[in-house]
Amino acid sequence: MDERFVQVGILPAPEQQRTIRRAKEKKPVCSAAVLGLILAGCFLGGWFWEGPPYMDLYRANLPPGRDAWFGTDAMGRDLFSMIWPGGRVSLSIGLLATALSTAAAVLLGTLSGLGPKWLDRLLMRFTELFLSVPGLLLAVFFQAILGKANAATLSLAIGATGWTGMAKVIRTEVRQMRQNGAVLAARCMGAGFFWILRKHLTPNFMPAILFMVVMNIRNAMAMESTLSFMGIGLPLETISWGSMLSLAEKGLLSGAWWTVLVPGAFLAVTILCITDIGNYLRRKNNPRSSGLPG
């Protein structure tokens, strides 16, 4: 059928389509390399250079130069030595929050997919409720309940907001699978919920949600930085990319552009790399929508 579409000029010509396909199957080597570098710098960097200094008001707002590679912030701290531990906190929050929301999504999704009808309806109503409120406001809400923010509570608050999309996908997949012979047979032989989940369901829905998991890391990191920037997330003393940016608004007006651009650039590059990898996973594992970039 495709040929006719090409003939009437709706689809690109075959040779063009081939190059497109090749471009689509390209592995995100570049992003993976850059991300690897950043990860290595953040998690291993502590062995090679010393941690961030305390306040040093004589050296406040130095522009980037030989003294301080990335300049210093309004409190006189050297940005270069803050970037790496800061990244460690930001990335850890991203990973931890994603682990939490993935666990919640798997549990709620499978419960809803396998459970009786009333449970399914109840859980789906619950999910809809979460979906209809903007994630950021929800995270602020949870953070307010949890009290003073530190890395752990912030991850919890962010993780509690990110599971809805995944849970819906998992539910749909599980519903399709539950009449599957293997699942039925396991049930007949008396397999418990967690056994079926681990042996039969997880391997099947994992590819479908893998890219969502990766994108979730990105969203959690963006949310962390937004919350910290607004002063609701991590306090200034806990260095993360977000809390470094919360000083940036003052830096902006005093002309200290490096306080805005340096942590932000690291955050942006990390987020972009993760997005690129996530998009690759989506194209690879969800071939149905593979013709479409995103």
């Binding site: 579409f5 903007p134 950021l136 999309g165 969502m212 937004t226 608004e249 805005v260 995103g294």
Partner: protein, 326 residues
């Protein structure tokens, strides 16, 4: 009728939740009322002040009093601004509506245009370029995008003011307001646009592969005619549906952007009141936002059922699919 009831029950639950969370969270509401003086108060003064604001009663009593007053249309007096909450909000809501509606309209038009353009140029250079740029801009955190915009256009180039909705001491005329609107609008649009543009593009690409397109082409209709006359109208329902559904997310983003640009709207108000424990104001802003969100959702459901009856049946239909676009 059932929907109305649902609406009010949700609103009531929301008010209860906000009330509880606001009171349980740490912070001192007296600071917002008395400013710096609150820290130097003696215990007697403190308890007197708390009694005056009604903060010494047990929580259920406080809530019941608030609810009773609110049902009579009295939402209380803002601790910080010392005036009626309604008038504080009334002064700000226009700004938020201006920002929100204008960026909503811009995104609606631009994403339709951009998406159609990309689909028309499928996989050719302009399409690939726009997709690439969109992926990058779409996934950056909004507040950082706003900061960079501020840095470039108002600190370095000095084209636009850094904050506010009108200049202090200025005449407050239209051009002044527009100049203050440009940057927040740009930040909001460039953060949200791409998601919707992709949706339009991808739906269009699915649509041009349908059989009826082949028929129309075979009958001799031009490509443009088929594209804009047949395909575009066919994707509009799902697009409008998505726009209606995503209004809340949009609002969340607008709040952040308002805070960065110190734009005097509901977002900054919500932020301030949460920070300074201005309970009456916080309650009112949260309820207003919640009511807005819920009416958007109801509206969206109504719209999509009207346009496409298939959507109303099983879990919101296809809209759930597009929750994740890079």
């Amino acid at each position: 009728m059932k929907k109305c009831l649902n609406f009010f029950v949700s609103l009531w639950a929301l008010s209860m939740a906000v009330f509880l969370v606001a009171r349980l969270a740490p912070g001192d509401p007296l600071t917002s009322y008395y400013g710096e003086r609150a820290e130097k108060m003696s215990p007697q003064e403190r308890s007197w002040a708390e009694a005056k604001l009604g903060l010494d009663d047990p929580l259920p009593v406080q809530y019941a009093r608030w609810l009773g007053n609110a049902l009579h249309g009295d939402l209380g007096i803002s601790y910080k601004y010392k005036t009626d909450v309604v008038s504080v909000i009334g002064g700000r809501i226009g700004n938020t509506l201006l920002l929100g509606l204008s960026s909503f309209a811009l995104i609606f038009v631009l994403s339709l245009g951009l998406g159609a353009f990309c689909a028309w140029k499928e996989e050719r250079l302009p399409d690939r370029l726009i997709c690439r740029v969109g992926t990058i801009l779409g996934c950056l955190p909004e507040f950082w995008l706003s900061l960079v915009l501020l840095l470039v256009f108002s600190v370095w180039l000095k084209w636009f003011p850094t904050s506010g909705a009108y200049s202090i001491g200025g005449d407050g005329g239209l051009s002044d307001r527009l100049r203050h609107l440009v940057l927040p609008l740009a930040a909001s649009v460039s953060g949200h646009l791409w998601y919707y543009a992709y949706l339009v593009r991808n739906r269009l690409l699915e649509e041009v592969r349908a059989e009826y397109v082949l028929l129309a082409r075979a009958k001799g209709l031009g490509k443009g005619r088929v594209f804009f006359g047949h395909c575009l109208p066919n994707i509009l329902p799902s697009y409008i549906n998505l726009m209606a559904i995503s209004a809340p997310h949009f609002l969340g983003g607008t709040y952040v952007i308002e805070t960065v640009f110190s734009y005097p709207g509901l977002g900054t108000l919500a932020y301030e009141s949460a920070r300074y424990r201005d309970y009456p104001l916080l309650m009112a802003v949260c309820l207003l936002t919640g009511a807005f969100l819920m009416s958007c959702n109801f509206l969206a459901q109504g719209i999509c059922r009207r346009i496409d009856p298939r959507l109303g049946t099983e879990d919101g239909g296809r809209t759930g699919e597009v929750t994740e676009f890079g």
